[in-house]
Amino acid sequence: MNVEEMRKSHKRLTEFAYQTGTIDRGYNNRTLYINVSTNEIKEKPVSQEMKEKFIGGKGFGLKLMWDAVNDNTKWNDPENTIVVSGGPVCGTTQYPGAGKSLVVSISPATGIVIDSNVGGYFGPYLKFSGFDAMAIQGKAEKDIIIYINGDDGEIVIDEAPDEALDGHVLGEQLTEMYAKDEKDKKNISVITAGSAAKHTYMGLLNFTFYDLRRQVTRLKQAGRGGIGTVFRDKNIKGIVVRYAGTKGNSNKPANFDKVARTGIKLHREIERLDDNLMRIRQVGTANIIEVMSAHDLLPTHNFQYGTHENVVNIHSNVFRDNYLTQGLPDGCWFGCSLACAKAADKFKLKTGPYAGKLVTVDGPEYETAAGVGSNLGIFDPEAILEINFYCDTYAIDTISFGTTTAFVMECFERGIINKDITGGLELKFGNKEAALELLHQMSRGEGFGPIVGKGIRKLKQYFADNHGADYDFLHDIGMEAKGLEYSQYMSKESLAQQGGYTFANKGPQHDEAWLIFMDMVNNQIPTFDDKAEALHYFPMFRTWFGLMGFCKLPWNDIFPESNKYQDEPAKIPEHVQNYVDVYNGVTGFHIDKDELILQSERVYNFQKVFNLRLGGGSRESDIAPYRAVGPVTKEEYLSREDRYNKEMIEKIGMDPSNMTLEERIAATREYRMKQYYKLMDTVYARKGWSDQGVPTIEKLQELGMDFPDVIEVVKRYL
């Protein structure tokens, strides 16, 4: 069936006309609300206070969600809402990495709000179409497609029975369906999930952009937390936006010259220096595979080890030299000269429903190479690319898939589960065929795959309840916190990173803090107060990007020659100033670096209260599984014996030569958990929270976030 026939099968459910051309200084001052139960579509105004307190992006997402749900809303209730929002800077074309948006919803994995950042053209086009955010509530009866025509000011909802579900197919179909011709395809962006999203809790959303040179629809992901699962639970098949005529001033910036000059400065810096720094334009985020491995930080075999003898087979140059097309302007939004969106073109798939097809694989990102590669004991670059591809098209988060499958493989290796339980799959480390078959099962909704797809929190209970497993041991080795799987960095030897991961609002994602090198290698944060200060500044700074529409990579994956002369080179002060200048240039405001932190702190505390409101966010939920903190097993202790024995002598004050291995493991654990709880106390105090991790009323007043319904929530816990 061709796309014309598919379009003819659409049944129109509703139409909505609206006025376009409303942007002023980065804001439309209105959001879009769509209810797919009632097919109601309406515009909602954005107040001055909403812009002051919530800024945009994740802030708008959280605010709209707060108003939409109730204290007991579950991820699969119709009240659950998916919000997509870019932020005031989103859609800027001069500054690298200014097209990001944040997607927010209640997560099936965690039960609290997840926020997930994503590139592609949808966020900017949604904004240029006329909306600072799009909120979707309710549940459709049958699969629907929502089409936002930002050129003509019209939104329609159609029942759409014939299009595919899988991301790479649906993305192509809808791009072709709604584009006028080949050149117009770049004016279309599609949100898809995939066939596995309904069968798991780790479904992602793909946001497309059309690649003019490759003539292929590319896929960027809002990966974490299962928002794709919510999307499919609402029976949404896809959302399409069209917007033609993007120009350098589409955001109607207050000071175009300021934005443009800052952007050109960074373009030149990237041109001069990237090849000798992180080589982002060559390999994207995969550049740190070998860096992590060299420092014994690359998660291997379910975070037991930090490297492997075969890791050289998946170093970034292997991908660059054999798979990743070089020299193309691979930005995921116009004007990103850092160009991290690499792809392996004409890649022949070996397994699954698309076996034999030549496809474009978007990746591998570092997280994918580590998550479905080293963490699973898979050191075959083609296996990594194939798993990457199927995760994207089926809509499975590679991070959660990797960490969960790693957990399952360790259980299998230790005899906790067996082939009877896995339905015949030999899930040992390194078995790439078995890992791929798990994915295909998730797509088909049959076999062991969907069980694994519920994530580690559910699996631990499932194995304990049904197969006599020792829950405490599973809890030790299952790398999840708050219900979300850890992303792919070894935090075992960095107390700061244990906190950076586990204290994060959404669950252990590294977007809040990445402190491993500052802590372990640079030794820049030796005291508890130092760590707590870093765990205040960096999460506040890093989450600011998500209020704006900025990408984090241009902050510190490139830096100017002058950076080494700065007082705090790790913060890349010139780039922080760049961000302030671009934000001020677009909006006409006059913030400085301190005000930036305050903007972020408001939304951060609001998110924490929202977690509490939904029954999460407790002190208990900030406690890490022991695998994230220290050696659980004998093999782990022995693999780093010198380090752990040294700590025993120097920090714990005991003599390892008098102790059995079990005694040493136990003493290390007791010491490290004490350190962990002390860090937690210090961090809560620095954040202005109670010893249970609840934002105090004074703190909320200080931030201007003491709304009555917010205070009402914290009062329950203070």
């Binding site: 003019l212 040179r213 120009k247 350098g248 373009h267 041109e271 030299d321 004007g335 000269s337 073109d345």
Partner: protein
Amino acid sequence: MYNIIDSKYERGAILKVLTKNENICVECHQCEDACSVAFFKAADREKSSVRVDRKKTGEINLTTCTQCGVCIDVCPVQAISRDKNGIVRINKKECVGCFMCVAACPEDAMMYNKDLIEPFKCVSCGICTQECPTGAIKIEDI
């Protein structure tokens, strides 16, 4: 591995290029006025596609476009291409104003001006050469 690069090297056999000889430039700046008046109706050297400056070391520096085509491959929307004479030209309507081409140009000949949301460049029209008293800039078949 798959390779798709645009027509950077497909410049054809011969095309007209603005060439320069800094040794005989007398810094009269007439070329800049001629160019900016022709294309932007104002004598403003910041709107000229040819520039006469001094390097930090004191020597005269002439900025001219060599029609090399590096910018063609850098443009995310393929707004830059060669016309039927092989001259590299910007399709202003398609341009999204990212200015990656400005930074990528090896000659610094892709120009940004704060009054304009697209960049601009030399199209080998030769108007500037008609004002040059010494022949320091010439249109030649290269």
